[in-house]
C-alpha cells in the first residue's frame, strides 16, 4: 500500500483481556517499529524488527507485551492481561534501511487502546 496501515484504529477492552494490534508496513520496507504514546507523554520505543535479524525488544515494558513479524510484512503486537496503564496510542512505523543517511520512519495513524 501507499502508507503504513494499522488496525484497529480504536480498541476499548476490559482490564485483564488480551488484545492484538496489527500493522501493515510499506511494501519493500525492511525495518518495522512499534512505539506507543501515553496521554501527555512522548513516543516510547517498544520493539524494532530488521529483516531476518533478531528483533530489538529492549523497549517492551513487561512480559505481557510481545510482537511478531512475518518476513518483511505484517506485524502483530499482542498485549496479554491488559492493565489500565496500557492505555495509549500504539504507533507502527516502517523504513527502508541500507542507504546512507538518516532512515526516515513512516508512521501509521496509530491504534488507540483504552483499557477500562
Amino acid at each position: 500500500g501507499a502508507g503504513v496501515s494499522q488496525s484497529p484504529s480504536n480498541k476499548v477492552t476490559e482490564k485483564g483481556k488480551d488484545v492484538e494490534l496489527r500493522c501493515d508496513p510499506i511494501s519493500g520496507h525492511t525495518a518495522l517499529y512499534w512505539y506507543r504514546q501515553r496521554l501527555g507523554q512522548g513516543l516510547e520505543f517498544l520493539i524494532y524488527f530488521q529483516g531476518n535479524s533478531a528483533p530489538d525488544k529492549s523497549g517492551l515494558p513487561s512480559d505481557r507485551f510481545s510482537a511478531e513479524r512475518t518476513g518483511e510484512s505484517v506485524s502483530t503486537l499482542t498485549i496479554q492481561r491488559t492493565q489500565q496503564e496500557d492505555s495509549a496510542v500504539y504507533l507502527c512505523a516502517s523504513s527502508w534501511t541500507g542507504m546512507a543517511g538518516a532512515n526516515v520512519l513512516t508512521f501509521g495513524a496509530g491504534s488507540r487502546l483504552t483499557v477500562l
Partner: protein, 111 residues
C-alpha cells in the same frame, strides 16, 4: 533515563514570526537527528533531519541547527503559519536504525 529532552511542552507564536523549538540530548554517539510533526489523530510525519557532521540544514521555511558541543539542536520555522500548529518531536539515532524520541513540544501559531 531520557536521552532526548524537549523541555518546553508548549510554545505560542504569532503568524509571520519565527518559531524556535529546542531539543537537548545526552548521548554523544547519536549520529543523526530528525524532527517530526504530529497532528491530532494522525501519525508523526518526517520534517527535516541533520547529520552529526553538520551544524545546519535548511529546507524551505524550516532550518535545523546542531550544536554538538552543547548537545543541543533547534528547529526554526520562519515565517510561522497557522498550519504549522502541531506537536513537534525531536528524535535521535545511534548507529542503528532505532530512533529515540523526545516528549514533544506543542506549537500553536495564532493569527
Amino acid at each position: 533515563d531520557q536521552q532526548v529532552k524537549q523541555n518546553s511542552p508548549s510554545l505560542s507564536v504569532q503568524e509571520g514570526r519565527i518559531s524556535i523549538l529546542n531539543c537537548d540530548y545526552t548521548n554523544s554517539m547519536f549520529d543523526y537527528f530528525l524532527w517530526y510533526k504530529k497532528y491530532p489523530a494522525e501519525g508523526p510525519t518526517f520534517l527535516i533531519s541533520i547529520s552529526s557532521i553538520k551544524d545546519k540544514n535548511e529546507d524551505g521555511r524550516f532550518t535545523v541547527f546542531l550544536n554538538k558541543s552543547a548537545k543541543h539542536l533547534s528547529l526554526h520555522i520562519v515565517p510561522s503559519q497557522p498550519g504549522d500548529s502541531a506537536v513537534y518531536f525531536c528524535a535521535a539515532r545511534e548507529n542503528t536504525d532505532k530512533l529515540i524520541f523526545g516528549t514533544g513540544t506543542r506549537l500553536q501559531v495564532f493569527p
